[in-house]
Symmetry: C2
Subunit: 376 residues, 2 copies
């Protein structure tokens, strides 16, 4: 293969596909980037075997010629070196594979020779020829991810909980994430009559946000039995699904509610942030809450050696029983308050031992559950 | 003691003195911040026993009342908690020490109680009453530090080499730093007839740059037998000196010069930066240089497994012998090229085995020496 390619264009594409690559992978071939030169484009692929990122560079981009194809072919080159070199070369990049599989990369007076990997060993991209698909606005999809994925489990103890459950049903798409101590849920309307449940790794969704440009309006989602594929313009992210059954959340939602309060999100968030300063010694970042007679919310925490903090906040609205105390993981509550966009939020309590239900008042599309911490 | 202090003012002062504190210090008292309330100001001190940072908050700052003194006294409080709380409190901060040495910190509805340390255990600041002193423009001092301190040793094998040698002599101040494989030197004129040699820890100088605001014009330098003190406005950095004799550098400077070349700094820097990509497998970041018949400089490096890079750069001026090769530590050369400001630099060579002398052409105040790497 032989091409001459615009430096900035190549460097950006290589750095994008590098996001999928684990430079320390034990499979040497996956520490490389695959370049495939076709009739009218260059395809660049990076993978860690669970995720593939594919970027297509056409010969002309935004009316400007960026790629000159001299000879078709393919090669796999060390991702680490290729990405660093691409950034540092002075101008247009001339890439040529010799017969002995040495790759020469030239730019002005700079000549680099790199040994290549055997490109036949590189795993194939999953086939999405007859997959179900739908189109979701990028902004909606990103908001769903940001408002739910944080609640997924970060350990590998229950593999399904390290993913986000995506449910397609009756023209709606919902995301659920839980680590069994907290839960986040969001649902939006989509224009696609797909009915299926899948579990997507949390990591995939975080990578997607880093990968897709803010200029992109819509993302195509393709579904196969074992893969989900997100496509936008010239870039695609393929991810293996997590196998297994996601726990049902229907039984978790509280059917009744003994106490409801409405608070200002920003003020509440700042108070918990302060209380968390003293809570870090506890495994569950214990922060205490108490609702008093006079419609005041008292937030407090203490560190055995250092001291304690306590503050009183006013409640905007109060219904039901008062006078109880509950201990929550302050960090779990902070995570929720950071992703809710609305300023007025409702908290439903069922005493000290039952999960707290949190939702924005003006928006019924997302809600959160946080289990209390058993404190003595 | 008891004061009410402006939040931003207190928070900035606490965060400044925290720069001196090692939160993991084995001397518990040094994990604290000392507050001393005097007649007309609050003095805040942080230290790791080698460095002290002292910040003075007056009652009125820039025409605005920032400190209300209710009762004089002193206390030492956990630096980690105090700095975090100061940032997160909602408004003016009321600090009061109770009789049982518990400190109450209050702001609007937020009440914090912190246990304090015994303030008598806190080490005293060195006395600079009758110390020698001089005044140096901040910009000159910072440039001296930036252009030399990087060359100091980063290990503790030779304690004196972990410092920068400061020589005051005949109205001049010079800085020398070396790790015995490279050396950096810079000299400026100052208005003070002090004659002395001291060794200042590299860390102190780096802290100084982070501590002193860009708005400051002049820095006062005080010298005692065991301390150097940098003072500017309401902040002072006290640092213990390194004991011992700094090696003489006079014998190191080459007396003759077999080959001199002049190159463009930016172009040279980019070339070495590229070559360093392939040099990281070698302990000394081996980069090869060769000056050829046709006034060309060839820069190259190779990695045994990955491949090699080579580029040809043009030389602006050439005098003396050519045709030799030399191997240098690419990172050492990069460090030098990054801190020189002038675009035309001169390199003097004395064959493959002798140090290379580097200096900007238009400026004789700073120069650098780099020893070659013995390669096979």
């Amino acid at each position: 293969m032989e091409i001459v390619i615009n430096k900035d264009c190549f460097s950006k594409a290589v750095s994008d596909v590098c996001k999928a690559i684990s430079f320390k992978s034990s499979r040497t071939i996956l520490t490389g980037i695959k370049l495939v030169v076709k009739e009218k484009c260059l395809i660049i692929v990076g993978s860690n075997s669970d995720i593939f990122i594919e970027k297509i560079v056409p010969t002309v981009l935004d009316g400007e010629s960026v790629l000159n194809i001299i000879e078709k072919g393919s090669v796999v080159i060390s991702a680490k070196y290729l990405s660093e070199i691409a950034k540092k070369l002075p101008g247009d990049i001339h890439i040529k594979v010799n017969h002995n599989q040495v790759v020469t990369i030239q730019s002005d007076g700079v000549v680099t020779s790199l040994n290549s990997f055997l490109s036949e060993e590189y795993p194939n991209l999953p086939n999405i020829g007859d997959a179900n698909f739908c189109i979701v606005p990028r902004q909606d999809l990103f908001e769903m991810i940001q408002q739910t994925a944080f609640a997924a489990s970060t350990n590998d103890f229950h593999p399904v909980l390290a993913g986000v459950s995506m449910t397609f049903k009756e023209n709606h798409l919902s995301f659920t994430a839980t680590n069994s101590h907290r839960l986040a849920f969001k649902k939006i309307r989509i224009n696609a009559n797909i009915n299926t449940n899948i579990i997507v790794p949390n990591k995939t969704l975080n990578e997607l946000i880093k990968l897709i440009d803010e200029k992109i309006d819509n993302i195509h989602i393709f579904l196969t039995n074992t893969y989900i594929v997100f496509k936008a313009n010239n870039v695609a992210l393929f991810s293996r699904l997590i196998e297994g059954a996601y726990p049902s959340i229907n039984g978790l939602l509280p059917q009744e509610c003994k106490t409801t309060i409405v608070v200002n999100r920003t003020q509440f968030l700042k108070g918990i942030d302060r209380a968390c300063l003293f809570a870090s010694e506890w495994k569950n970042n214990n922060v205490q809450f108490e609702i008093k007679d006079d419609s005041k919310l008292i937030i407090s925490s203490m560190s055995t050696e250092i001291g304690k903090i306590q503050e009183t906040q006013s409640i905007m609205e109060l219904k039901g029983d008062i006078g109880f105390r509950i201990t929550l993981n302050g960090n779990f509550l902070l995570d929720v308050l950071k992703v809710i966009k609305e300023e007025e939020i409702r908290l439903n309590f069922n005493g000290s031992m039952k999960p707290v239900f949190v939702e924005p008042i003006e928006n019924k599309s997302n809600y959160y559950l946080i289990s209390p911490v058993r404190s003595n």
